[in-house]
């Protein structure tokens, strides 16, 4: 994979530096800019694969930048980063054109993982009706999951969990990301609540003689991949 280019629009020098360092550490090329107007100009060039965008900026605020970019037909995925942890704020951020929303303070690897997910989502086809990974398949219309042709009996939330993992297959999903994507809540679930749900799903996915697909990534989260 050639180096993906990320634009970080962030006015706080320390935070910008931390974000850039973490993303470079993950193997991305990163440009940082502190000013909203300059950020919009750079983002509009279309040479970036993803953008991290601070909500509060001098010059032009994050919401306006996001909505202007979307109006110009630019589909570069945007991770909105904000100190405002309000449901309303979150909804506003996503409506303005943010593809994901992260609240300050955030863990750097959480941020980087979300950027990776955004990069992958760009290449994945969101309109697919059947999601496949290895011998696993999920029919989004019939709400049926199969492994090697055998129907899996999954509860609605387990189907949703599987869908989220399939859409991001090969990509590490943190527990917070899973909790947000499957349940839609933004609070911190008990330490092992997500683990329990993933374990329950894993028990149903796997069987004797079958390869394990749903991997635990120690200290990070979960990932759908063949070991």
């Amino acid at each position: 994979m050639d180096l993906a280019r990320i634009l970080t629009i962030e006015d706080d020098a320390t935070t910008a530096d931390e974000i850039a360092r973490e993303l470079i550490f993950r193997g991305f090329e990163v440009d940082t800019v502190a000013d909203g107007v300059e950020g919009l100009r750079l983002a509009a060039t279309g040479k970036y694969d993803a953008i991290t965008l601070d909500r509060m900026l001098p010059g032009l605020d994050g919401l306006s930048i996001a909505s202007m970019l979307k109006e110009r037909g630019l589909d570069t995925p945007i991770l909105m980063i904000s100190a405002l942890n309000d449901v309303d704020e979150r909804v506003r951020g996503l409506r303005a054109g943010g593809d994901d929303y992260l609240t300050k303070p955030f863990a750097l690897d959480e941020m980087a993982t979300r950027v990776e997910v955004l990069l992958r989502r760009r290449s994945a086809d969101a309109s697919k009706l059947v999601l496949r990974f290895a011998d696993l398949e999920l029919d989004l219309v019939a709400h049926v999951a199969r492994r090697g042709g055998r129907d899996l009996r999954l509860f609605p939330k387990e189907l949703k969990l599987l869908e989220v993992l399939l859409r991001n297959s090969g990509q590490v999903m943190t527990r917070t990301m899973i909790f947000e994507a499957v349940w839609g809540y933004n609070f911190d679930p008990g330490t092992n609540l997500i683990d329990v749900h993933v374990r329950a799903l894993r028990r149903k996915l796997e069987g004797p003689g079958l390869k394990s697909l749903l991997q635990t990534v120690r200290g990070a989260g979960y990932c759908l991949r063949v070991e």
């Binding site: 863990a107 609070f187 679930p189 609540l193 120690r218 200290g219």
Partner: protein, 446 residues
């Protein structure tokens, strides 16, 4: 506006007192005028009586009768009478008789006539008794005039005093009310509110300014205390996250059988625990700072309970705990739905954590005395009575649960959410176990 509050204001009392003193002064003044005038008029009447009597008494028996007639004709207010030494009427038309008066020449008040009068009796030089009487209706008339003047002026003064009192008190009272409203808002947790200060700079303004300065100071030190804690949590998160990443990398580099790897893994999970604690702390701070900005909406308690039960069912199953859900239909409260979910999830998380395998946890949406309530009951070890007030304190961990993983912040968050809504958080003994209730009473302010 004219309710009982006005009667208690200082301005009103001062005005009323002033009115009373003024009315008293007027009464005294009029009384003095009356007394002086009455004294003067009486003295004049008495002098007239005495002059007349002395003229008549010093005349002679043969001239007295013509004098008599002349006097009566001269002054219709006077009545005369001449009586023999034995008391029989010789002349004159006074209704008085010698038995009514002592013949000593001193004027006296009499009431025998048709109206008030003064009279005197005197012996003539030849031994008959002379009575001179003078009508004093004027005096009574004067007293009546003064009394009615008193009555009217008194009524006018009292009315004016009351009206002035009410008018003068209305403004201070309105300001006091504004101050009371502001103080109530402050005690309800709106620490940004200040007492209103008008530009006049009177003693109320002075007090309000002092109180405001006091509150500025209190707010500043409160904010300082809070930001120190938050700041520490905030500042330490990034380096800790980095530390964790390094430990994790180091861990990955080691052979799975290397004993050092076990050690590093323990370090990673310790760091995770610290990070979780910081997250919880910052979350509580965020909830507390949210203050009045919560997204209040109509929330169904039944739905809240269902969602949380669905979320925790696998965890309960894995811990071999029976999770029961009960809900009364149609229970709604006005609350921030997501915060209520978070609080309920913390309560259930706690119950599942502290109940041993084989135990039972019940999650209920019910109505307690008409108040919609979320209730989580378990049959675990319970909370000792003495510890109940402490469990919502940050970082407090029950002695009985020292062996169970956790950061002691879960109930603090529940308490913060309850506080934010004006809901009540109650602990009760389930014998065995504990019942925790969030009583979602409708707060008066919302």
């Amino acid at each position: 506006m004219l309710n009982s509050g006005i009667w208690r204001t200082t301005t009103f009392r001062l005005t009323a007192l002033f009115g009373a003193v003024f009315a008293g002064g007027i009464i005294l003044l009029l009384e003095l005028v009356y007394l002086q005038t009455a004294q003067y008029l009486t003295a004049r009447v008495d002098r007239t009586l005495q002059t007349e009597a002395s003229v008549l008494a010093r005349s002679r028996p043969e001239t007295i009768l013509p004098l008599f007639r002349r006097e009566v004709a001269r002054d219709p207010l006077n009545t005369l009478g001449l009586f023999s030494a034995t008391g029989e009427r010789v002349a004159g038309d006074t209704r008085l008789t010698p038995s009514d008066l002592t013949p000593d020449g001193k004027p006296r008040e009499t009431t025998a006539g048709p109206g008030p009068a003064r009279a005197l009796a005197e012996r003539t030089s030849w031994g008959e008794i002379l009575i001179v009487e003078r009508d004093t209706r004027q005096l009574t008339e004067l007293r009546r005039i003064i009394r009615s003047a008193l009555l009217w002026s008194g009524a006018i003064i009292v009315t004016l005093g009351l009206v002035a009192g009410v008018l003068l008190s209305a403004r201070p009272l309105r300001r006091i009310r504004a101050m009371r409203a502001a103080s109530e808002a402050i005690s309800a947790g709106d620490f940004g509110t200040r007492l209103p200060v008008e530009s006049g700079g009177d003693e109320l303004d002075e007090l309000a300014t002092i109180a405001n300065r006091m509150m500025d100071e209190a707010e500043r030190s409160m904010a300082q205390a809070r930001t120190v804690g938050e700041g520490v949590a905030h500042e330490l998160r990034t380096p800790l996250t980095r530390l964790r990443a390094r430990l994790d990398h180091a861990c990955q580099d080691l052979d799975p059988n290397d004993p050092r790897r076990r050690l590093l893994e323990a370090c990673v999970s310790e760091t995770d625990a610290v990070l979780a604690r910081f997250r919880a702390l910052l979350r509580i701070a965020a909830v507390e700072a949210r203050g009045r900005r919560v997204g209040i909406e109509e929330v169904s308690l039944g739905a809240t309970v269902d969602q949380i039960a669905e979320l925790y069912a696998p965890l309960a199953a894995e811990r071999e705990i029976t999770l029961e859900v009960e809900k009364a239909a149609g229970l709604t409260v006005r609350a921030d739905g997501e915060l209520l979910l978070e609080a309920t999830s913390n309560l259930l998380d706690n119950a599942l954590k502290f109940t041993p395998a084989g135990g039972r946890v019940r999650l209920t949406a019910t109505s307690v005395g008409g108040i919609p309530t979320i209730e989580v009951a378990d049959n675990g070890p319970g909370i000792a009575e003495a510890e109940r007030a402490l469990v919502t304190k940050r970082f407090y961990r029950s002695q009985a649960s020292a062996h169970i993983e956790g950061h002691g912040l879960g109930l603090s968050l529940v308490a913060a959410v309850a506080d934010l809504h004006g809901f009540e958080l109650l602990f009760d003994d389930a014998r065995p176990g504990v019942i925790v209730r969030i009583l979602c009473r409708r707060s008066a302010s919302s």
